[in-house]
């Protein structure tokens, strides 16, 4: 959907200069809007909580001046959540965008290739079957689970190459298998089922700075690495034959980028639980804003993902205190209608 800048219509006669909102201009404004929204939401997420504080309170808390209300709450509870939203949003969005490019299907997302289910299964296994293990083992287990499931998916889909179609379908199947395992565990150990369900729905409850430090290195390393592959992902998007004709080592690039994006998703899921739809919806919005070139739209997707997470987490904490909704619920509620709209659009367009 490239924009063709329309030439301004010749002014009829005297000085009625209509301002034309060219698609290009409109996109730039939206992009700027996203940026502004990110900044605003960052502030809002620091303000909102069980008790809502004022921007002045936030300023005092952040600068450590000791004045103002709620310094302890803002620095100990709101700040870690805000930072987590940023890394989780960026991580999931970039991971999802790359996956959509690799699988060449706009409906691809980390849960499609079974990553989130695999991570979930491993985490719940550790929580229920080995309850004496320290809870710091859970992110490690979830990470391992995500990686293991992509290995299984890739291996099962490999038949003289792992075509995107096979990857997607096998991913769905492996995801279904892991999901069955999760449900089996939930039924077998019903005492902790509500905690497990919350984890599965995706919640940042009681996450502190340690979760942030766990995710940050992965995001800081893998996102630039994936951006490095941006051009090659564009080439892959032309189709296997054409890309190979252009000299692209198709299988290898696909393998590397898939594993990198899954690693990123696993790291995020491991610490933050299975938050849905950010990886599906953010890349789409970004593509509508800046077009389909990976180098341009992946960073924007990251911003949009962070924005989504900030909005969801703020609503989760502020909607009905002291009840804290799982923010994965909010992202589902936001993402579902958008996804349905997407479904009908791709149906009509008959393609990507």
């Amino acid at each position: 959907m490239t924009a063709i800048a329309t030439a301004p219509a010749p002014a009829p006669a005297p000085a009625v200069r209509t301002r034309h909102l060219t698609p290009e201009r409109r996109r730039r404004m939206l992009l700027a809007g996203v940026g502004v929204a990110c900044v605003v939401m960052t502030l809002v997420s620091l303000m909102v909580g069980a008790v809502t504080y004022s921007p002045a309170d936030v300023w005092h808390a952040v600068t450590g001046s000791g004045q103002g209300e709620g310094g302890f709450v803002i620095t100990h509870f709101h700040l870690p959540r805000m930072l987590l939203c940023w890394v989780v949003g960026i991580g999931l969005a970039v991971s999802g965008g790359v996956m959509q490019g690799v699988i060449r299907n706009p409906l691809a997302a980390p849960n499609i290739v079974g990553v989130t289910h695999g991570a979930g299964l491993a985490a719940i296994l550790v929580v229920h079957v080995l309850p004496t293990m320290p809870s710091s083992l859970i992110p490690v287990a979830a990470f391992a689970g995500g990686q293991l499931s992509i290995v299984v998916v890739y291996a099962a889909a490999y038949r003289r190459g792992a075509s995107p179609a096979r990857l997607a379908l096998v991913g769905v199947a492996v995801g279904a298998l892991c999901n069955a395992g999760i449900l089996f565990l939930l039924v077998r150990y019903p005492l902790n089922s509500s905690a497990a369900l919350t984890w599965l729905a995706g919640s940042l409850y009681a996450r502190d700075m340690s979760s942030f430090w766990q995710i940050l290195p992965w995001v800081a390393v893998l996102v630039p690495l994936l951006l490095h592959y941006a051009h090659r992902l564009d080439t892959l998007g032309l189709g296997d034959d054409l890309a190979a004709g252009l000299g692209e080592p198709v299988e290898r690039t696909r393998l590397i980028t898939l594993f990198l994006s899954v690693t990123l998703a696993s790291a995020v899921v491991a610490s933050a639980g299975t938050i849905g739809f950010v990886g599906l919806v953010a890349p789409h919005i970004a593509r509508r804003l800046v077009g389909g070139r990976h180098l341009t739209y992946l960073p924007v997707a990251g911003l949009v993902g962070a924005l989504l997470m900030l909005v969801a987490d703020t609503i989760a904490r502020g909607a009905d205190p002291p009840l804290e909704l799982p923010c994965g619920l909010i992202t589902s509620v936001i993402g579902a209608p958008y996804f349905l709209y997407l479904l009908t659009k791709t149906g009509k367009a008959g393609g990507r």
Binding site: V51, P322, L323
Partner: protein, 347 residues
Amino acid sequence: MKATGTTHTRAAIASLIVAVSAAACSSSGGGGATTAGAAKGGHDGGVATGVTMSALQKQVDLSQCGKSTRAVKHDLGVTTISGTPKRVVALEFSFADAAANAGIMPIGIADDNKTSKVTALMAGITHYTSVGLRSAPNLASISALKPDLIIADTTRDAKIYSQLKSIAPTISEKSVGVGYDDTLATDLAISVALGRCDQMKAALAKHIAAMGSIAKDIPAGEHKTFVYADIVPPNFNAHSADQWEPQILATLGLRSVLPPKPGSRFVAMTLESLYTANPDVMFLGIDGPEKTLVDQWKTSPVWKQISAVKNNAVYFVPDALWSSERGLKTSEVVLRQALDHVTKSGK
């Protein structure tokens, strides 16, 4: 879910001590009935739950009572508390009840977002701030209350213990899956942390006496079997004999169809296993009008053949009162209600 191994050792020791001291004069602790033994099996009239003040005092470490700065040992470590905390946040109902009985009204309670769960029975707690779900208490809410003591539940809150500690001194005891006798012991332990040992001892003594006086109305020679279950569709969660409600029901002389099962709070029974167990009396805890599982079972001919159904002895009781609160006055009311049900059912 950690196994309650230590509590069972404690209970065993307590029973032993009580058995020995029952031979001696019975006026060592406060008042209260002093019949020995675990609260199971047939009894003659005038029997209470088998818990005595002396047993409780031996079960709990009271060495820190009366000190201004106390080092309180609890399930997750040792916490130093100075003075008498006034702003207490309780993350379980039984803890709120304990604090209130010791004379300190909690300013914050994790009440699952339902104020109806904190009934008037809980020692007159009228005004508090809800801090959210017991399974996920809102840390920011707790912090905003600026508490000076937090009482957490070991089973649920172990993973947020370090964050609770950063807000205020925190002690952690078990409330979930704990029997009646251990609940009283926990209450006493909490009063040590609060610096109100004497008030709690008086409250407990009064409570044991009250239970004893209700127990006087228990008819002799009660043999019936019972099951207590929470109806949480699609599950029929029957509580094993060492849980709170079965222990109180055992005071009436009823026998649980399920044996004690440390490490597991309940057994999910199917219609078939319920039919095979064939209890004479059923107490079913429900939350509001939701009885769909039982309604479904009622359509089966098997249901009608269960002894309790034939005797018209299926009682629906409020879940909040019977399961959640586990407070002192609440247990008296529960015992009274159970007694009324059982004696009215004839036989």
